[in-house]
Symmetry: C2
Subunit: 231 residues, 2 copies
DNA sequence: TATTGATGTCTCAAATAGTGAGATGTCAAC
DNA sequence: GTTGACATCTCACTATTTGAGACATCAATA
């Protein structure tokens, strides 16, 4: 899956970043985890440090630096408002709330809030989840052009008819599709051209979302509308 | 300042990421902004895309991909709680709230919330701000070893005596240090070893923070305590 | 409708950067 | 005091990367 990109130095640098994202790494750890030779790992780690992609913690271990967050945050004007809205939605519903954007045939969680107590679904910000299962996936796929739907729907846990229902109702519902025992409800976020650019979701134990009530649906759709652009 | 790291391919890749973080870029834009030759820009952009560091938007423009967010989010277990706490602090005080971590001689904003209306201080998540001015800077520097304080304090808008006051009071206050007209108040976040790992701040118009009241200080210190680890 | 220029993509000979064995220094464990 | 693990550095050699040029596509223009 994660084969060479054709630029060897970048491949090696990314293997270091992946290792460091997993947990803080000494140089020896980097050598062990990435399989790079010691001078190569050292040189590349210093270069990544120069570019603020990694940093050193007080024990000298490499950790992720500020550059990834700076890049991730730049230009995504949806995220700040998304974070506010998932918090409000979590408080209003008592369920976990997330916002996802589509990335290829996956979805990226760009904001998340979960209840402090009780049984709950945890989706960390930065997670990449499948676009072939779950209500958020259906929302992100439903309004795509047919050829893209054709590609994405292969092996999906939902069908074309489900996507039609999503377009009709303006929200999607799923039970146990992405993860057993978890239910979710999602609605689309539109940009000023009316395109779907994100999905707002609530998720939690299946019994809490077996039959979404009008109140839950309204809170969700309202949240999605508030996230949509009005320019 | 941003000179070569010694690994040319990485330098070039980062120049592409910086360009794309600024705004979505066509290949032609990348060539123009980075000064790279067209085939080089093309090859490196495809390699970055392969590693999910960039992606293509519907118009074919390069945008930041999910990998930076995934890396930034990984292993930073403070951030999810930080986001919740800045929202609560913003609501309780009516002022902007942020959480910062130290990175070298700068500070990175890892969570932020600002009031919806009125005059307010805006600090986007992902921003790198100076460690030589502002109350958060004083909090992040105050508990460092003396040699590090010696280095950082050169050219700083605060003095060693200010840092002693911060250690004594457990919070820092500044007016117009980082930006004219803006006041701020900050408190330290400790890890389970008692080390300062972040700063919680409130900021806003100088007149709102000219003389922080006991209520404001308590809300701030409480927020910082709730963020501190209890393991 | 044909032409032109800009853009994106690809190839491969030549050029250059990057690699890694080995040396050196530091430090904790024994 | 010794030893082994680790981090850092050098530079001859190797492999990767580069970019000129070719080709395809497409929108703008005459």
């Amino acid at each position: 899956m994660d084969k060479s990109s054709g630029v060897g130095v970048l491949d090696k640098a990314v293997s270091i970043l992946d290792a460091v994202a997993e947990q803080p790494c000494s140089l020896a750890d980097l050598v062990r985890v990435t399989g790079l030779t010691r001078p190569t790992a050292h040189r590349l780690a210093l270069a990544l440090e120069h570019h603020l992609m990694v940093a050193r913690d007080p024990t000298g271990h490499f950790v992720i630096g500020p550059a990834p967050m700076t890049w991730a945050a730049a230009g995504d004007d949806l995220r700040p408002r998304a974070e506010q809205i998932v918090t409000e939605l979590r408080d209003a519903t008592g369920l976990s709330a997330q916002v996802y954007r589509r990335v290829g045939d996956e979805r990226l969680c760009i904001a998340a809030a979960e209840p402090a107590t009780g049984l709950r679904d945890t989706v960390p910000v930065g997670s990449l989840l499948t676009l072939r299962a779950g209500s958020a996936a259906q929302v992100l796929v439903a309004w795509l052009p047919d050829p893209e739907i054709d590609t994405l729907i292969r092996g999906a846990a939902y069908r074309r008819a489900d996507l039609q229902t999503v377009r009709h109702r303006g929200w999607a519902h799923s039970l146990g599709q992405r993860e057993p025992g978890v239910g979710s409800l999602s609605a689309p976020v539109h940009d000023s051209h009316g395109r779907v650019v994100a999905a707002v979701s609530i998720s939690g134990p299946q019994d809490r979302l077996a039959r979404p009530g009008a109140a839950q649906r309204r809170l969700l759709v309202d949240a999605a509308l508030r996230l949509s652009t009005r320019t």
